[in-house]
């Protein structure tokens, strides 16, 4: 058994080992003395005796085990010392409460008197174990024999201590109270229970410590007491902790004496027997009434302690406690640390390796050894301003932010989510790239959820605390924040509702609104939640309530179109960057505003037709009935029934309105069908016109791919009357484009558009609304719609340069190698069926062709040159050594290569490359390209046989 344990615990140990008694006659005597002075630490002279004793115990046990005792016993050796079955057993015997020590001493006396008769080995009485003593003996009978006839001991119950627990009996949690000056402790009892205190003096002899506390003194009560007035015995409350103000005390006629403490020589104010200094209370208490373990002072507490004039010095010294309470594995490899104590103070380095208590660091300074081993107590984590960190413990645990400044051991952090300043200990922080706001969820509720509370009030969770939420209630008059516990929340409101703004525009979630009146007037941001006509708006410039503002929907105005440009839209800079094509969102003219709402968007053209329900155009899912599970787009709403164009089947079905759920892609009114149809083919490009200022990426055709994929442009119109007509189709329709353009419904939208478009370079078509539609009807113009985008780098005017395709106009940097078909723009080069339908000059020189001119036989020739007009100069003859003629492309036909022929690739990315056809698979040819030696599978159509040279 580890001998040190026995000695450390200062428990009574009486041995009956013959050996022991023989060699040390004075031992009982010594033990006697120790019993009397139990609470005291051993004196110097005793120390030797103890060592002596220790040695003898060692000898004794060493003998029985033949184990060499070594001071530096390793763990394994220590294991070997553990009791085994061959060792004497430990028996637990009941005795009278409070008589444990007495019983033990009596037993010892008995052993001395009776000698070998008593076969027990030792007796142990533990201070913390009442009612029992332990007796070490080989057999239970020996124990019974030994205790026979003794008082205060009840041998009726003799229990064997299992071998495994034997060590626990005698091992004591190293309770050695290591109280040093300047350590932080907590009071265990009294008025100051739980309070943080700082040790200023330790009296080990009397087991008392003097601590410094922030007083909790009710001066009035104190005054009453001192003046002998009646003091109510039981106090209902503990006075709040605050610093003692001597002047205040004097005002209440409390006698304040200034005395010099004989021990320290410092002056203290003495009030009613209590000593104060600098406002702190100095109190001498028993060591038992303070707790030293796991004292983790919070930041606020420490700040308080620092308050009166104490500077950074105290901070550093008090760190030792903080360090002592560090968790295991506090330092990690790679952590940047700074040495705070010792010779190497202020040395910075990064952690290389962590051992038990020593940390190997790699100093950042040059000229120092590669690694230095430093005690972890002398190290402190170190951060630079700008580091992104995460708080790993303390009140703000889990929060992340960026370090703005470092003050010694304290780091100031700007929280990522709240943008608040947090002050935390460097110890509690680790570098991290993660972004969180601490906990964001309790139960089913998450930060920024809209929840309904018990009292039927509702609000948005703006902060999640450890056990409760801060909820911004849905009261528009003033910001009302309530602390709500989990159980007070009924449920999360997850409905997608709509509201009407002041101008009766339908608002949906994510629409950007501006608040027109109320306390937050002028603020603007996307709507996050709508409930009962109350909007919760998120304004990132609003620092309070996590940026949330609660407002009535009537006091808001929709800004820009509904469904603004996705994530960018809440940010003012979004518009700054989109201004090229997007009109500024904020200064909306009222005239335009009513057009912004989705339901009215293009309703004008179809008024009198179908109802303009917000649902129209929305992608929904059918929940019930025959078509349950089908997704589709709402094309019409009639009363309580909805006509839905199914995605999976090409038909429109009528279902009950209650049978659909609009969860799929919440309210995508109008935008999608109109997006390309109207957007890119008509001059009123959505992203450029105020009518349609924002395109959300959400609204991508990708959102409902199948659906979109199934429709042809023609049917687009036929199926969804809301789709605006693109000009070419307009011709096909009986409507007159001009009248359309000037139709009164459109008119209001035009002027602003025009003003907007006016600065567009080369946007000739914007001159008059009518004109633009006429022109738009011509293919060239419609194709140059993009070119009209007010991009500064656009050189061409739309109608201006006929030979130039829009793409080429747009792409000054296109590599020359890219073949460009004037007639068909960039299409055919990208199209997978390149060449099959193009009659452009896709021939290349050196290709073998069949020339069939009218009235002549087919002759084989080799293209020598491709002329700019598309015709080719062909040298007749399979080797190209015949006469040279000029042939039109229509007169030429490529000679289809056969296997193992040399070929030239006529289209695609590899156009112009030569290779060898190594195989044919249906319509595909397997080609080994000469340059790269790649093997490609290419359409046979784009392969041409190369002339032999």
């Amino acid at each position: 058994m580890p001998q040190s344990i026995i000695l450390d615990s200062f428990h009574l140990l009486v041995s009956n080992d013959m050996h022991f008694i023989d060699t040390g006659a004075d031992i009982p005597d010594e033990d006697d003395r120790r019993i009397h002075r139990r609470p005291l630490l051993p004196r110097e002279d005793e120390q030797e005796d103890i060592e002596d004793l220790q040695r003898r115990i060692q000898q004794r046990y060493a003998k029985s085990h033949d184990v060499e005792y070594d001071e530096e016993a390793t763990d394994v050796e220590q294991q070997a010392l553990l009791p085994s079955v061959r060792d004497p057993k430990l028996w637990m015997v009941k005795c009278a409460i409070g008589r444990e020590r007495e019983v033990a001493v009596c037993l010892m006396q008995k052993c001395i008197d009776k000698g070998t008769e008593i076969q027990i080995r030792s007796v142990v009485a533990l201070d913390h174990l009442k009612n029992y003593i332990y007796i070490e003996a080989d057999k239970e009978a020996h124990v019974r024999e030994a205790v026979k006839g003794m008082r205060n001991i009840y041998p009726s119950k003799v229990m064997l201590v299992p071998i495994k627990e034997m060590t626990d009996v005698l091992s004591v949690e190293s309770k050695a109270i290591d109280v040093a000056r300047d350590t932080w402790v907590r009071m265990k009892i009294g008025t100051y229970k739980g309070d943080l205190a700082k040790v200023v003096d330790v009296d080990n002899v009397r087991q008392r410590v003097t601590v410094k506390l922030i007083p909790r003194i009710d001066l009035q009560a104190l005054a009453n007491k001192l003046e002998g007035r009646e003091v109510p015995k039981k106090k209902a409350f503990t006075p709040p902790a605050r610093f003692m103000n001597v002047d205040e005390a004097r005002e209440l006629h409390i006698r304040v004496e200034r005395r010099r403490d004989p021990a320290t020589g410092d002056y203290y104010e003495n009030i009613g027997g209590m000593m104060f200094k600098d406002g702190f209370l100095y109190k001498t208490v028993s060591m038992k009434s303070i707790s030293t373990l796991n004292v983790q002072p919070t930041f606020d507490e420490l700040e308080k302690f620092r308050q009166p004039g104490e500077t950074g010095d105290g901070d550093m010294s008090s760190l030792s406690t903080l360090f002592a309470n560090r968790k295991k594995g506090h330092f990690m490899k790679g952590d940047r640390v700074i040495v705070v104590k010792g010779d190497l103070k202020n040395l910075k380095g990064s952690v290389e390796k962590v051992e038990e208590d020593t940390v190997h660091i790699k100093p950042h300074e040059k000229g120092l050894p590669k690694t230095l081993a430093i005690s972890d107590r002398e190290l402190c984590k170190y951060f630079d301003p700008g580091n992104h960190v995460k708080v790993v413990s303390g009140a703000t645990e889990g929060a992340t932010g960026m370090v703005v400044s470092v003050e010694g051991h304290v780091v100031n952090i700007v929280s990522d989510t709240t943008k608040d300043l947090l002050r935390v200990f460097a110890d509690n922080v680790v570098e991290s790239s993660e972004v969180t706001s601490g906990i964001t969820r309790i139960g089913d509720y998450e930060l920024h959820d809209l929840v309904l509370m018990d009292d039927n009030s509702f609000g948005v969770i703006i902060r999640v605390e450890s056990e409760a939420f801060q909820v911004l209630k849905g009261v528009p008059e003033r910001p009302d924040v309530a602390l709500v516990r989990l159980r007070e929340i009924k449920y999360k409101i997850d409905k997608k509702l709509f509201a009407k703004d002041r101008y009766k525009n339908t608002l949906s979630v994510k629409d950007v609104v501006k608040i027109l009146d109320g306390p937050c007037r002028g603020k603007q941001g996307p709507v996050e939640h709508i409930y009962k006509g109350i909007l919760f708006i998120y304004d990132r410039h609003h620092l309070e309530h996590a940026g949330f503002i609660c407002a009535k929907s009537e006091s808001c105005m929709m800004v820009g179109g509904s469904r603004a440009n996705g994530d960018r839209n809440g940010n003012s800079f979004g518009s700054r960057f989109n201004h090229l094509r997007t009109p500024p969102r904020a200064p909306q003219s009222p005239m335009r505003t009513p057009r912004g709402g989705p339901p009215i968007n293009f309703g004008g053209r179809h008024r009198g037709g179908r109802g303009h329900d917000a649902l129209v155009g929305a992608v929904i899912k059918i929940r019930l009935g025959h078509y349950k599970g089908c997704k589709g787009r709402v094309v019409d709403v009639k009363g309580s029934s909805v006509r839905v164009e199914l995605e999976s089947q090409m038909k429109v079905v009528t279902v009950d309105r209650s049978h659909i759920s609009d969860k799929v892609n919440v309210s995508t009114p109008f935008r999608e069908p109109s997006r390309y149809g109207m957007g890119s083919e008509t001059p009123m490009h959505p992203s450029r016109t105020p009518l349609h200022p924002y395109m959300t990426p959400m609204r991508d055709p990708g959102a409902t791919p199948i659906h979109d994929g199934m429709r042809t442009p023609m049917r687009d119109r036929a199926w969804n009357p809301y789709t605006p007509m693109s000009p070419p189709r307009d011709n096909w329709e009986d409507a007159n484009p001009a009248s359309w353009g000037t139709s009164p419904q459109y008119q209001p939208g035009s002027p602003p558009r025009r003003t907007y478009e006016a600065p567009t370079p080369g946007s000739g078509w914007t001159n008059t609304p009518t004109g633009n539609y006429n022109e738009a009807g011509t293919p060239r113009n419609s194709s140059s719609a993009y070119a009209n985008a007010p991009s500064p780098y656009l050189p061409s005017t739309p109608g201006g340069q006929p030979p130039m395709t829009p793409s080429s106009a747009y792409l000054p940097g296109t590599p020359g190698g890219q073949p460009m078909t004037p007639g068909s723009g960039g299409l055919d080069m990208m199209s997978p069926v390149v060449g099959s339908d193009s009659e452009g000059p896709w021939f290349l020189p050196d290709v073998l062709v069949n020339v069939h001119r009218s009235g002549e036989d087919n002759t084989v020739g080799v293209i020598r040159e491709v002329l700019p007009d598309g015709s080719c100069r062909v040298a007749l003859g399979s080797n190209g050594n015949g006469e040279t003629v000029t042939a039109l492309p229509s007169e030429l036909e490529i000679v289809v290569p056969r296997k193992s022929d040399k070929i030239k690739i006529m289209g695609g990315a590899q156009r112009g490359a030569t290779g060898k056809l190594i195989g044919i698979d249906g319509t595909d040819g397997i080609v080994k390209v000469d340059d790269t030696l790649d093997v490609k599978i290419l359409d046979m159509v784009i392969l041409a046989k190369l002339a032999q040279t």
Partner: protein, 177 residues
């Protein structure tokens, strides 16, 4: 810092757009999709300046959508640690002030404002030196140094300092009026 770089993106195009204007539409869509976005690696994509190449389209099974790999040149803006920027103050509070340099929001904590500047609350919150000669308020233009950046998927947020030589207010709207 601004960069002119070449990026690549796979664009999905609806079959409806296949035709003469395919390329235009592709480019329009690309601009719409890309400009103003922010990626952690490259920063904010400010503007597309040209198309390098459009790769071969690949038809997606089932949808008919075609994916084109598009290489485009664009101007990106990416703030760096240690970079000096000029920014416009957008908000002042007791913790410091927020400024914007283009799309980037920068926070300058009061720890990083020179010690002689004090916060003055009121209608127009500001930081003022004791002699009142320098004032930072909303719409002031400041020169600042970025000391830390945090890059999200959609936003870059920076911490800046004006506690250094040659940093601070460069033009003050209040002074002009």
């Amino acid at each position: 810092m601004f960069f002119h770089i070449v990026l690549e993106r796979n664009m999905q195009l609806h079959p409806r757009h296949f035709g003469r204007d395919l390329r235009d539409k592709l480019v329009t869509k690309l601009m719409k999709d890309v400009e103003g976005t922010c990626s952690g690696r490259h920063g904010f994509i400010v503007a597309i300046t040209g198309i390098e190449s459009v790769g071969k389209g690949l038809i997606r099974d089932g949808t008919g959508f075609v994916t084109f790999p598009v290489k485009y040149q664009c101007v990106v803006f990416r703030p760096f640690k240690g970079e000096i920027l000029e920014a416009v103050v957008t908000m002042v509070n007791k913790m410091g002030f927020f400024a914007e340099a283009g799309p980037v929001q920068i926070f300058v904590s009061n720890h990083l404002i020179p010690d002689d500047m004090e916060f003055q609350s009121g209608d127009m919150a500001n930081y003022t030196t004791s002699d009142g000669s320098v004032k930072i308020q909303k719409d002031s233009e400041v020169r600042l140094k970025i000391i830390g950046t945090r890059v999200d998927a959609t936003e870059i947020f920076c911490i800046g300092t004006i506690k250094d030589d040659f940093l601070g207010v460069i033009s003050d709207p209040g002074a002009a009026s």
